[in-house]
Amino acid sequence: MNLNNLTIKKARQGLKDKQFSSVEVVKDCLEQIKKNDLNAFITVCKEEALEQAKQADELIKAGQDLPLLGIPVAAKDIFSTKGIKTTASSKVLENYIPEYDATVITKLKDAGAIIIGKTNCDAWAHGSSGENSDFGPVKNPWNEEYVPGGSSSGSAVSVAAQMTIAATGTDTGGSIRLPASFTNTVGLKPTYGRVSRYGVIAMASSLDTIGHFTKTVEDSAIFLKVTAGQDKNDATTPPTTVPDYEKELSGNVKGLEIGVPKEYFIQGLDPRIKANIESAIKFYEENGAEIQEISLPYTDSAIACYYIIQPAEVSSNLARYDGIRFGNLRDAFGEEAKRRIMLGTFTLSVGYYDAYYKKAMKIRTLILQDFANAFKKVDAIITPTSPTMPWKFGEKIDDPLAMYLSDAFTVTANIAGIPGLTVPTGFIDGLPVGMQILAPHFSEGLLFRIGNAFEKAHDFYKHTPYES
């Protein structure tokens, strides 16, 4: 058996039982990375990873038990890693080597994880397809002619293609959930502030969340237990306690009230996806959940609201890359970054601020209220993650608006700050589909419980792009 195909849960068990070593797991992952030409990685930390695996094996031998001890994890190339090049997939930071680790990287290392490499993404996390990377697009392992979704493309693909056991990502408008649904992986966007943003290159600070890709919901729970919690270096992380998420995986959804928002089942939703998600919803009904149609009336304003707030913050966050200290000049910015800098600079300008930014902030409050009202009636919400199936490279690249609309179902959670989980729900014409589960702030445990119940009954994660 290839050890790279394991889940965190199984790999930890095997390492503990000394069925295999961390060095062996890491070697199998490195081999898988080498074998496939998907452009998922910007940097592979071969030597460092093997060295850390050796150390992990010694700790295991000495009886140490840490939640991720000896487990290879890939990090989106937007997480600062001390001594390891961190580019945000932009030519601007082509040669930037951070002098510090992001909090999440520190927590992963402290939990025994091994950083196997840095994954490719849309430059500065701007994009939904992975095509905006200055270092070439990432390919979808299920069909290399198709996009894997973005912006955390390389992280999604590295997990889907069994190159690593888990990977970190960032989700500002859907950048974890969308690629998860395009690659048959589990993608978690936690509550805003649940996981520290410190050391993660900022895209839009009030929307950025730090999540991850795993093969199973169970792994996602194990991973979040490590990364979540208050950080004294991030003022937006509250002291809310971190529960033992694994304990929430009861498999039981009986009596849960699940809302299905009619605004997410509209024209423009691929009918095949509609049927797929409806059958997933049916599963919950059959297992004792109460299904209710609900309304989130401001859904159709979400993309407009998002494309005011997000570029405004982007324009400010990218100002530090002024060519004075980070090597490459501002003309090294790609098209999409330039577009967002222009948009944001415009909407924040005197005379436009009230009409754009201020109004968008008001809509943000309304969308937040939409969810608050919905969660008075239901425990959680299920929607499709994406209105469309993965598209072919180049199909939307010249039409930014079409590209932006692929986030229509995911941006709402970022605007409201609530958590969202994408769980695989099958395949259409050989390409993966995923559902999105949404819950109130800090209810990640509930998301895991709902997602895990479906996963246990369907085991879609057992399908890999390489099965015979």
Binding site: G199, S205, A235, T236, A312, S315, A319
Partner: protein, 434 residues
């Protein structure tokens, strides 16, 4: 007067917190080796985030409270976006429309001057220009900076100087800043304009901001220079340019630095990395309660409690350390000598309070009293007798003929028939005349 002068002030004060505004680096940067007090946050490295310094927030509020400001329970930080090589993040974290303190006032020379706002921000790095290159030192980047903005209520340089001195004294009393101008801990920016329309209630259509002023003396000179310069232009029927000028010490003049035809667009928006600050009334009240006695109150109390002249009380309360020294000495004296005598001794003998202990000072006073074998009561009696025998002294004194005191001293000396401390006698007479 055929013209009207309008002056408002922006003053920046660096707080002396141990650490910087948004990171754990030491804020004590002066004279340190460049770029040694830095970290990812104050260098603006990718991914770094600001975490506000609670001490700085509280001190900012206390400055506002000392200036009689209203402290809103809700406040927030904003980003002020602009490019400059000394600005690590490409924006400065500041406060725009909801600062910590609003609408205060300060009383100087019997006049009331409005304080528009007091807000919190961060300092920038420091540029040094060499012949073929420029160097950046980020030690100062992120040092807490409080900006105090007045209403355009000033009409002369003298009041401005008095305001600045009072402000410096207040922040020193609060113990929140040393406000040393030589070290850049207090920076003054007057906005000056002049109108030929004496009765107009509206502000002129231009204003001139003067920067690079590092002493109270220069601020006076710069303002007077500006008034003359602008007046000359106005009298020619022209309007002075809206601009930023700098004070040039060698030329003894202001020189144009930057024309400011239109206001800069800083594209302010709420700082998403820092949650808004929500004070409770209890917090605000307890910050207010922990404000020490301020210069005005202390001055009044010294005059009342110790029967000091305004002149002496003012000198003793200029610095807290001085005032505390005086009060300590009064305590030590246990009424063996009068507060007035202690005050005179400290002021006239220019006592170095760092070298002579209050107890030593009292010992000295008592010793000199003894050698003169002078009993305070004996002196008091003599003074009373002289004033009674010569009612003319009091009458002349009231009319303002202070030279009459010299005559009175002579008379007291004559009665006592011994060499005594003239200052002591003078003060006793003044005391009795009050």
């Amino acid at each position: 007067m055929n013209h009207r002068v309008i002056i408002g002030l922006e003053v920046h004060v660096e707080l002396k917190t141990k650490s910087k505004m948004f990171c754990k680096c030491s804020a004590d940067y002066f004279g340190q080796k460049p770029n040694t007090h830095t970290c990812p946050v104050c260098l603006g490295l990718p991914g770094a985030l600001p975490v506000p310094n609670q001490q700085a927030l509280e001190w900012c509020v206390q400055i506002g409270q000392a200036l009689n400001c209203n402290i809103p329970l809700f406040s927030k930080f904003d980003r002020k976006n602009y490019f400059y090589p000394d600005l690590a993040k490409g924006y400065q974290i500041s406060q725009y429309d909801e600062p910590f303190c609003l609408g205060g006032h300060i009383d100087i020379n019997g006049k009331k001057f409005g304080i528009t706002r007091v807000h919190m921000e961060e300092d920038t790095g420091k540029l040094t220009h060499e012949s073929d290159s420029s160097l950046i030192d980020f030690n100062r980047s992120g040092v807490p900076l409080v900006e105090i903005v007045t209403e355009p209520d000033f009409d002369n340089a003298k009041d401005v100087k008095a305001y600045l001195q009072k402000l410096q004294q207040i922040v020193r009393y609060l113990g929140v800043s040393d406000a040393d101008m030589e070290k850049g801990q207090m920076r003054l920016e007057p906005n000056i304009s002049v109108s030929l329309d004496v009765n107009s209630k509206t502000l002129p259509k231009y204003k001139v901001e003067v920067k690079n002023i590092n002493s109270f003396g220069f601020v006076e000179k710069a303002i007077n220079f500006e008034i003359e310069r602008q007046l000359e232009i106005l009298q020619k029927g022209e309007r002075p340019a809206q601009e930023t000028r700098g004070w040039n010490e060698t030329k003894n003049a202001t020189v144009s630095q930057r024309l400011k035809e239109e206001a800069n667009d800083y594209r302010y928006f709420p700082e998403p990395d820092i949650p808004p600050i929500r004070w409770t009334q209890t917090q605000i009240d307890s910050l207010k309660a922990s404000i020490p006695e301020l210069p005005d109150e202390k001055l009044a109390r010294f005059q009342k409690e110790y029967s000091l002249s305004e002149y002496n009380a003012e000198i003793l309360t200029r610095e807290v350390a001085f005032a505390n020294y005086f009060e300590e000495a009064v305590k030590v004296a246990q009424e063996k000598t009068t507060p007035q005598q202690i005050a005179n001794q400290i002021i006239n003998k220019k006592i170095n309070i760092d070298e002579i202990l209050p107890a030593e000072l009292i010992e000295e006073i008592l010793k000199s009293n003894q050698t003169n074998d002078l009993d305070i009561n004996e002196l008091k009696l003599a003074v009373k007798k002289v004033l009674k025998d010569h009612p003319q002294i009091a009458q002349d004194f009231v009319k303002g003929k202070t030279s009459v005191i010299q005559f009175a001293i002579g008379q007291v000396m004559y009665i006592l028939k011994k060499k005594v401390d003239v200052n002591l006698v003078r003060n006793m007479i003044l005391e009795e005349l009050k």
